[in-house]
Symmetry: D3
Subunit: 226 residues, 6 copies
């Protein structure tokens, strides 16, 4: 007990060779497993069609994804077992996230991530966290949305928008006219409020579909726009 | 303090004339207000189109609602300010609630109500509570789903289905393979699990759109199938 | 995937015959069971006396209930296994709910229902929800108290009263002078505050006795005053 | 930074004279205030009658309290502004806490304290914590019930009883046949279950009346049976 | 049911001999067990050294504890299986609780207790509750910190300090500049805020070490400064 | 409303030029702000010493950090305003995270991250998330620990370890012998359990110091080991 703490610190910092623990970590995993991320798209035993089995429209759509995004998002592959469901899902997704709106695409992605953080959705945090990093050019913004948006330095507009999305996620029964008024005070129009509510609502849906099916994001997202 | 409690009880029961409090209740409300239910469809100041302003397809659709249901659900009127959004919403709704599924329509409505009970969504509890009463022919079932589904005497299948929907609603981050296995043990197929997740997810979305906009149900639902 | 969503909607609305699911629902229940509401008064195996076995005072009291209410509330039948307990319960109930107070009977019933909603008490929501509908002449008010009182359009007085009752139910440790002052600001006297606290407290008791014993409400309440 | 931590410890332990902070604490309080415990019986401005103003029965009752307990519990004084309410309260209290039961008086007091701990009720923790210490002759038992009953070494019977009381307090909506069966397995009869539920329910009521009125316990309880 | 409640009360108070339940309580415990407090220092099977096995510095330190406090706190004995860990722990403890600070020692102990109350830590509530009673000379203050600090009559300074410590304990993710400003408004310096945070943080650590190991306080604390 | 959803999707995917939103995001931030991450080390106005102002030991220590880690962690800079506190903190940190233990360094970092995820600590998630990625060579493992460790494919040992750390974080009052036994069943020794508890406890402390002071991580962590 005699040696002062600093001595111990220095011993640790200098005297001990830096041991990378990759090897022992691998041993803890199953032999062929390279990562802790599950290897399936979904944990339900529903056969997903190969590209050739898909309708021409879906083939074309997936090709467009490949070209534009460099990947077909796993959520689309997951839904492809039933093209009616795939179409209904993508139509709503595209209306909410890509169509004209008073909210920028980045803002909609920020909502997606803070909602998904409340619900701890691995799929959506990964995929939409990447989108926030990419659209903003600010990797720290993506991390802040995933980890704790309250810490971020945000405009009043963004603070109000995200506070509303989080309140709607965690205690929808308490949302009231006061909350809507906060959004108006921050400059949002009535239709913007509809859009904030719709995007926040949408990710409360998809977070749960992903959770229930253990849906896994494409691994390529992890390194994007860091 | 001398008289035994029963004397007091009897005095109350017999001696006092039953006073209906309608009048004083009315006075507490604003003079022209007949009910505590807000009078709007949504609390956002977005003009909703009249029937003539709608596209022919929507006119036809609303006419079908009138004929089949005796009303156009307010949620459809709320969405009618933007027919793209209306179509995306109804397409997903109809796929989930009305298309072929291993889940009966009643089962999907039961999920709708227990999810909405967790989120305390007045709109969805009212509209889908009515649907449960109507589809089951058991008014108490509707009340049990609204008030506390845990109290209901349910088949193992229904218990497992609703427990999963509620877990997915209240703690999606904790849903795991064990929960999926419970559903399989209760006889649900992989696709049924997808459908349970999708319906539970959907009402987690709509509950929040309704909460954010203070969406009000058609008052006709209250007395239906009692 | 080709047909637009509206076609699908219309097919569903028009082409499919409305199938009432009563039959399959019945099959899911046990053969002789007509409703999902459990068939007992309480789930404890305590023999409840028949009318002839009761004391003359209780017989008279139950007869009064029959005459005035058209039923003997199951809670009274549940307590009748021990007339000392029955008397203690009814004496307190009658003092709180029926005796003179600055709170109207409807207001006390509104408190009963919002407290019971927080605790999800099937018995009390059913019995006192009916009382709210009956005393107010506003069926929607009963539904709003059961489903989410925050949505109701209420006078400042009623809003303050119910907010206090709910805070006292969900986080009694946080109730402070500020909360009492809110009630005073809404026009309540010191004795009114006592009464609000006592009624809210009482249903926090009875909700738990009902939950612990799985006490079931008289089925006649469901259709009352709709 | 040089001196090892132990040196610092020793300096603190030996070199520094033990300063009792009574004086500065007093200064932080208002000048005449001797304790942080509020000085009222309740924080509502309701005049409480002097002994002479009470009915002869209540005078006699309070005299009995003085003789047997050495004090009149403040809760009785608080209720004395309305002797009907006082009588209804004491009748129920006495039936639950003092009448014959399969539960010992100590067991009922243990339930009282663990329920009050969940609700953080200063009045009931103080008064009934003292009762547990007194009835058991084990001061640590009283502290364990107040602070965290889960830590106590308890018989299976007591563990089951308190687990049920706490579940009923914190999540009454989830209590089910399984929970009742746990009590039966621990040796409780059907009537014992009723009594456990009733006592737990009762303190969920009184905790809230005490919280709403800021009811203060007699200060004599603090030093009792330590 | 005839006799009025007061008769019953009086019978209970007068007619029934006061039965101390010590004997039956003992029977519920194991035969040799005198108290419900577990008999170990920690529930992990790690041999703790006897005094002779300790280093001279620790022997001296424990002797100082004996002399100054009349006991060696069990937490120190628990850590003594590894003197490096013991030293690291005590160095941090002493810096936080005993070194110079803008916070008085009593204030730091008050923070210790309210944090431990949120985490329901039997060890820390017992040991530091005793310290609050001792340093303040106000036994009720100790009980209020343990049971519900919100009820205590506190200076604005103490209220702000404890509110911050509790917020930091229960929802650290929500603490923001507004909360820091509240502390500044109550007169705390920037370094005081650091100290409040550090003490509150420290007990969030030790509460969990105590919980994980079922660490038991010295029984002598219970009767101290009552 | 006529065009099928896929047409709309394709228009969005193909017809619209991908607009990077960097510019408008910058405008939402203050003009000179390049990132949403706050620019301070801590939000308290405590002057932090320059390197020259530090003691020789600390200068040496920071130089070692620079050399080994490529940076001096901001937490050390934050504590440097008081070298006593810095030493107490680092001594404990180094004992827990770097000294010999039955837990590997990676395992201790995994505990650090899952605890910090429960508390949503931006500092610790960033710094220790990087450590998990680096030590494991599995970037997805770092993301899984940050986002939702429950989703990760883990050995039984790691699952048990993290479940315990999370339970200890979120409900320390409920941790019991059963939880310790789960760890033993997964192969942990008594001393390993102490270490798991200590590391989990430590991050419950530092998460709160970071939250209370708005401590910001070095920005270099974000891109590390992706």
């Amino acid at each position: 007990m005699e040696k002062p703490a600093l001595v111990q610190i220095n011993r640790v910092m200098y005297g001990e060779k830096q041991v990378f623990e990759h090897r022992s970590y691998r041993k803890q995993l199953m032999t062929t497993q390279k990562t802790a991320q599950p290897d399936h798209i979904i944990a339900l035993d529903i056969p997903l069609p190969s590209r050739e089995e898909l309708s021409p429209e879906t083939v074309k759509y997936f090709a467009a994804c490949d070209e534009k995004l460099g990947l077909v998002p796993n959520v689309l592959q997951a839904y492809s077992w039933n093209e009616d469901k795939l179409q209904a899902f993508t139509a709503l997704y595209n209306d909410l996230m890509l169509a004209d709106s008073g909210l920028s695409k980045l803002e909609r992605e920020m909502i997606a991530v803070v909602v998904s953080a409340e619900n701890k959705c691995f799929y959506c945090l990964t995929a939409h966290g990447a989108a926030v990093r990419e659209l903003s050019g600010d990797p720290a913004l993506g991390e802040l949305m995933v980890m704790n948006y309250r810490v971020a330095e945000l405009s009043d507009r963004h603070r109000a928008m995200l506070d509303f999305a989080v309140a709607l996620t965690t205690m929808p029964e308490d949302v009231s006219e006061d909350d809507r008024q906060e959004l108006r005070n921050a400059g949002f129009s009535e239709k913007d409020i509809w859009d904030i509510a719709s995007v926040a609502g949408f990710f409360n849906m998809t977070n749960r579909v992903a959770a229930a099916t253990d849906m896994q994001p494409n691994k390529d997202y992890h390194a994007k726009a860091r």
